[in-house]
Amino acid sequence: MMTKKTNKKMVEIRDLHKYFGELHVLDNISLQVFEGEVVVIIGASGSGKSTLLRCINRLEKADKGEIFISGHRLINKESYINKLRQEVGMVFQHFNLFPHMSVLKNVMEGPVQVKNFPKEEVKREALELLVQVGLEDKANNYPAQLSGGQKQRVAIARALAMKPQIMLFDEPTSALDPELVGEVLAVMNDLAKNGMTMIVVTHEMGFAREVADRIVFMDEGKIIETGKAEDIFDNPQNPRTKDFLGKIL
């Protein structure tokens, strides 16, 4: 097991604002995530948590404020953003696997096409990653032949193949049948134990309690409360946090 949390700031968000038309989806967000830390963002749908995550790898462009990824400020330059995205793995709610490629090719696509690494080496590492997510026997299958849980594990392997410094998870289990949630959370749990810096948007409170170093509660585009899992869950300070937890726990 790698050493957990260091003092190195992997993600730093300063005074971030984002509007969708009139709607103020992110309202003055500031957040720091340290190396090896697992931060879980919770909140009702529409509270801005996914948008915040998507701003970090620039799938959404913030209207105001700054984001730093391991010390480098996110600037408005295409080539720079492409470079940065190689350091930030993203896992989506709907997997977004490439349906025209086999599982193995999905995992190899990033390192081969983006980093131009030699195919043989990438293939070996991709197979190791598939072992890590428990899908080595599915390497030559197509995504359409997998269950939701298997798809999401491939998606995680695909993101890991880029050897990112940070992993972002956008409701990774929300589209899964209940009985498939566990296998995906188990993979994420392993990752966390191995010291991966992770920002996770999820409704899985059990996972949040068990794995998160810090919980961030968002409501109406604002960070309302942040703290250790046991503090947030057992002793929430803000009435809105109490109200939200009361509804879902």
């Binding site: 989506f92 977004n96 197509y142």
Partner: protein
């Protein structure tokens, strides 16, 4: 003048049409190739957020789809010839290519836009550039989805080459007309031309279908 049909002519004269059939095929394939190239390019222009690209693309599509193909053929051959001499064959390829380009552009645009937004996001999240994500991730899926409509358009093109007879290209239709007027056996010659057309279109349908089922392996 009454004259009984003599269908033995169909078999006897069938090989006489081979050069015309080859010409028809050359015309169709060149037009398809040019049209697909133009169509792909214009579909990207049409999708582009930049007005410099998407407005001309829309104008082109509106003009081409809104006017008859025969008129377009005449404009390229007779119209432009007053400035610049073009042989009938290249004139027809240009006219059919430009004509098909407009339809194929719309087929590609629809197919590209029908691919889930998450595909582009996943590709970009890996650090891919937009062109690479288009080429590696979006287009292979879009082309597969566009294939039935493309096949349809290709078959229309094969049939539309008969219009080239109007600018003196001796393809199948003109050939049958000319032979028919030499001995008034129009029906027999038209049937020969029809058999050639049907053979080409059926073969093409079959090939497109083959490619479709080959590409469907990832679906199940």
């Amino acid at each position: 003048m009454f004259m009984p049909y003599d269908f033995s002519i169909i078999i006897k004269e069938f090989p006489v049409f081979i050069p015309a059939a080859i010409l028809t095929l050359e015309l169709a394939l060149s037009s398809i190739l040019l049209g697909t190239g133009i169509g792909l390019f214009v579909s990207f222009a049409r999708i582009s957020k930049s007005k410099v690209f998407n407005i001309p693309a829309s104008i082109y599509i509106t003009i081409i789809r809104g006017t008859p193909i025969l008129l377009q053929l005449f404009i390229i051959y007779y119209g432009i010839t007053s400035l610049l001499l073009i042989d009938p064959f290249p004139a027809a390829v240009i006219a059919f290519g430009v004509h098909n380009g407009a339809y194929i552009a719309e087929i590609f645009r629809g197919a590209i836009q029908s691919i889930d937004k998450g595909q582009m996001e996943a590709a970009r999240s890996l650090g891919m550039t937009y062109p690479k994500a288009m080429r590696r991730i979006i287009l292979p899926q879009a082309i597969k989805r566009a294939l039935p409509a493309l096949g349809n358009q290709f078959i229309i093109t094969i049939k539309d080459t008969s219009l080239a007879s109007a600018i003196t290209i001796r393809e199948l239709l003109l050939k049958s007309q000319q032979l028919g007027s030499s001995n008034f056996r129009f029906m027999e010659y038209f049937i020969i031309a029809g058999i050639y057309y049907l053979t080409f279109t059926a073969t093409f349908s079959y090939l497109v279908h083959k490619v479709e089922s080959y590409l469907a392996v990832s679906d199940h």
